[in-house]
Amino acid sequence: MKYAKLWILVLLFSGAARAQDATNIYSMPSPFDRYSHYLATGRVTAAIPIGTFADQYIDKTSLENYSLSVEWIFQGALSAGGEVGYAYFQTRLPRQVYQLDGQDVSAVQTRTLTQYPIQGFVNYHLAGRSAIVRPYVHLSAGGSFVDYSLFYGNLADQQQKFQFAYGAGLGSKFLFKKDGSLGADLRVKYSQTALNYDYVTKGISSINASFGLFYRWW
């Protein structure tokens, strides 16, 4: 009987030990932690024109900005990827008389600026890859298809160019659950596109605040 009790005790302890082993198996780092993986983000952006661009051409904040990025999350703190997007500024001025080539032109101006940016970027993350909140510093460079269309009434003056563009920003990724695939992304970015045409003399400058949703996989 004494032996039997001892045997039960041994069994109980070994069971507890086995259970502990099992926990260790499941607490292994997730594949997202162990391997470099991919992450795709769709963003909507509020863009605030700044600087000379805002002073001379369009100063109205735009909510018509969208982008999609795909990035490779490396083992360390870095990630790199590409982002394509669409950005649109528009404002309308009440009727005024403009001097154009010595002529007086009375018109309602509709000023628009459309961009299709295509940029490469690098993110440097300030927290580990398994962190629920993962802030990062963002740098981007590339080009942008720019369409400058200025309407006098319904007459258009249009200029289209592929221009150099770059940007820098701060952002953070927020995982919806630990080790999950889905999350949100908030980013504030300064962006600059070169352009010298008509009213735009020192490029297109804006501050962009974006909200995004991301999906990651490996």
Partner: protein
């Protein structure tokens, strides 16, 4: 899902997203706001030297589809309004046979163009430099032709007013100087109801014509 498939799906989604984003910035522009009044003058001329004017007895029709004259209701309306505005500014209306100092022409310009433009299959006319300048609106003939070209028709119709200096005409060379002109462009300019406001606007932005 296979990686390539995923990337392809994403590219497709992005393409759809981008093409859905094409804007028509003028969709909420009113007829009045679409109108553009362009005036031009000889800056060396002092209009106070003139006292009398005459005007054409009907509106001239000019353009690449032919020319002629017209005196429909809208033409009478514009001619009457121009006479009234000139009188308001201090000019005396006389007949053409009474040696007026200036003469006024009123014309409708009607042009129609068939255009061909190279077309990049992915980026529309991004590389083409656009359709800038003072052209008219896009016609209804937009379409894809064979290869990477697009054909479109532009129709323009606008009013043209000019003031000719008879007082200082160069008789030897039979030269007449246009000392002032105006173009009226935009939507609704074929409407008799709009005419009064439009003509007033043109003369209001030409305050230098006032001699009284």
């Amino acid at each position: 899902m296979h990686m390539t498939n995923k990337i392809m799906l994403m590219t497709l989604l992005m393409g759809t997203l981008l093409s859905a984003c094409t804007n028509d910035p003028l969709r909420d522009l009113s007829i009045e706001d679409s109108q553009v009044f362009i005036t031009n003058r000889n800056k060396s001329v002092d209009f106070r030297q003139y006292a009398t004017f005459s005007i054409v007895d009907s509106v001239l029709i000019l353009g690449n589809q032919g020319y002629g004259t017209s005196l429909s209701e809208i033409d009478v309306t514009i001619l009457t309004r121009v006479i009234a505005k000139m009188q308001e500014l201090g000019y005396q209306y006389v007949s053409a046979s009474n040696n007026p100092d200036v003469g006024i022409n009123v014309a409708q310009i009607r042009n129609s163009y068939l255009n061909v433009a190279p077309m990049n299959p992915y980026w529309g006319n991004y590389w083409g430099g656009g359709w800038g300048g003072w052209g008219g609106g896009w016609g209804p003939g937009m379409g894809y032709g064979p290869g990477y070209f697009t054909y479109y028709q532009t129709n323009e119709a606008y009013w043209y007013l000019e003031m000719i200096d008879f007082k200082n005409s160069n008789v030897e060379n039979q030269e007449l100087d246009v000392v002032w002109n105006a173009q009226i462009r935009g939507s609704g300019i074929g409407s008799t109801q709009q005419m009064g406001r439009i003509v007033d606007a043109v003369f209001e932005q030409s305050s230098y014509l006032k001699i009284n």
